[in-house]
Amino acid sequence: MNAIIFSIIVFILSGVVSFLIGLGGKRQMAPRLGAWGAVVAAVIGLVPAVRVLAGRFISPFVLPWSIPLGSFSLKMDMLSAFFLVIILVMTACAAVYGLGYGKEYEGRKSNGGAWLCYNTLAASMVMVCIADNALLFLVAWEIMALASFFLVAFEHEKNEVRKAAWIYMTATYLGTACLLPMFLLLGSGPGSLNFAGFNLLHDSRLADICFLLALVGFGTKAGIMPFHVWLPEAHPAAPTHVSAIMSGVMIKTGIYGIVRVLTFIGPPHVWWGGLLIAAGAVSGVMGVLFALSQHDLKRLLAYHSVENIGIIFIGLGVGIIGACTGADIVAVLGFAGALLHVVNHALFKGLLFMGAGAVYRQTRTREMDLLGGVLKKMPITGTTFLIGAVAISGLPPLNGFISEFLIYAGSFLGIVRQKQVFVLPLAAAVAALALIGGLAAACFTKAFGIVFLGGPRSPGHVAQSEASPLMTVPMIICASLCCIIGLAGPLAAGRAAQVVVSVFGIQSPSGLNAVSDLLFKVSGVSLLLIIGAVAMTIIRNLLLQKRSVRTSVTWDCGYTAGTSRMQYSASSFAQPITDLFAFFLRTKKRVKMSAGYFPAEAHLETETPDVGNERLYRPLFIFVKALLSKFGVLQQGRIQVYVLYLVVALLVLLFWRLR
């Protein structure tokens, strides 16, 4: 436990020192100190986390703290260690990446403050995972929100960045507002706010209320629909290494919160599982549909985070249904799939964001319709982005398939074993996962194909050279981890299943073995696939050895002036799908057709505003503002009237007291 505390201290110290040095004027030293300090702290923190995951036990740590009801108590069980490992690994990778990415800003902005916020964000995320007291948890949660707000607003001279930061702040606080009553409800029984005392086995209605509050509060952080509206605004606005951390790791603290609360509130009810599956299915499908209609690369990736959080929720729902009906194997598979997807998503989403940032650095734009052919100039970025794209589409042999397979297996086994009413949500889970998988593959062929393949669609945005090693090495690390987890599926899933069993107290050794057994065959098939692909390539090259192999232009059906502007663009690639789902997407199209008989200039612009924003929040906020502006009549602007208000209030209180 001391190592973790030491790691938090190193995070904060390196951030503070970097900030002070940045103020002092040594522009180049500050970011290096901040970034390498973060890496060192992450490595220090990984040691105890890995030991706990391997089965060692670390005793809790308590410090006296003078706040009433609060106590500075830290505890690291397997669930915390699981989340800590992925938080620390991604923090370290993104810190190194941020060092390379931030070279751009060196002359113009002071980076020291940004590194202070980054390290504070990392430290607070660590604290959230190991806090054992509700007050400590909430303090760490707030620090996390504040630090990420300042990071999102790093380029605050741009109007849309300021707007995005504001939306993010509002959403976070609305979510946290639900957490406070939940913790108070949980603590009202035992009378203290320590997690060890939370225990709601007796009262099922209270458990229902706490579950709903946790879903709204932590769901806002996680990004489930309809609370996701901050995600597509905040993630493109933040600098790329911050987006990678926020999308990969920070929204997973919401998942951590939900799982933690599930361990407090006793035996689950079936409708919780159904609600989680429904919310997950809606988020997944709508998230990927919105992603398909975006032409800003980072906004597309942000909507994909919404979709993957939906998949995680589906896994949690399947697990709860399994736990309710006593089918332990279904419960273990569902929860293990959800937890493993947490790790997998952090890895490949971080990787994809880093790739998008590298492309942005080189080409100066995030608009996919202006890019193209980047793979030729940036092979490492392109290849790692391809690995991330294949992984996020859930295709074998990479890690996305492993976690989706676990969730599928849980649902199928539940369908096979139970011929009862519980089958309906499980069937819905299968249908949703299948639809999400197909649409995600469509979206990522679009993202990868339009940006990296073909030819450049606009002459002003051509990539010049590969990104610097500071940026490519973290991407290579994440891509290799994706491949390793994909091939070593049994190990990773076995570890996740261990975590599930220890956290939820499911007594089922057969469940654990079944999970590993299933995955051994899957890994075997993945290995066969890779060997097969290599073998086929060798056969093809052997066949071509004696034959003529020439290079020519792409077959162009006789058009002599084929240009790269004639390629399919991102919007045209997604057009069949977005037109089919136009009812949900409500894309706004502005078309200006050419007049006259011969083709001349025409103009098409599409924009897909977020449906949650437009339909739910904007009308709601306008209504609230209209309601509250009725009170504006009280603001007369004359100080004599305000003094009169004070006197009246005091008199009323006096009479009330004397009554």
Partner: protein, 289 residues
Amino acid sequence: MTGLLLAPLVNGVINRVKARFAGRSGPPVVQPYYDLIKFLRKGAVYSGTTTWIFKASPPVSMAAALISLALVPFGGTASLIAFTGDCIVLAYMLGLMRFFTIAAALDTGSSFEGMGASREALFSALAEPAFLIGIAALAGETGFFSLSLMLGKVPTVSFELLMVVVAFVIVYLCENARIPFDDPATHLELTMVHEVMALDHGGPDFGFIQYAASIKQWILGALIVDILMPYNGGRWYVGIIEGVAAMLMLAIIIGIIESTMARLRLLRVPQLLVAAGALSTIALLLIMR
């Protein structure tokens, strides 16, 4: 194993049936084999716009198709690789094949391939749920979760399973670029879905792609045939012969469907796929009742 040898034969039979319906005598039934040998003997021309992804796509498709073939049982005997959950691996292996085909199509930088890729993305996104829900219905009916156990042990074909078979036939027509989804004989803009994605490939690459496509066709046909045929034990070669006969019968039926229908308007295609999904879902709900 039979699939490896006989997959192109199914293509030949379909083409012959279509030719007969059109009043011609048509190519010999073994023509696809001659075509494959011809492709394997040629050189290759690669476009300057393409990258290594274009060269990697045919071998990856081939490997994915071969492994999927090993996962599917045929003729009442278990498949080469059988384990709990192999149906999901099958569906996603086909998805991997599709991903690399679409990537290679976008790699050429031509609007023809882009058109095919974008339509293929939509069609397969809608066909996959229909397929997986049908598999779930099958799993619910037979009580097993592995393809070798599910197929070939179906005692009687109930009404729900017939609905699943109809849904699978629609998915078969979609995935294999048959009318009413696509016309495998032309390359016009209206019918650019599957054929056009491989437009720039030539030589051994094209041979690989054609063979992988015919194996995919064999796999989806084997699923349909295995549900319908009663394999009542007996020697293993009896089952194989029955299976082959059923596959050829299926090929003739597909040829008849292709000759008597016209290609659907592109706007209607998603409706047909959603209908297939609805059929599978209704079958699943009825089975679970």
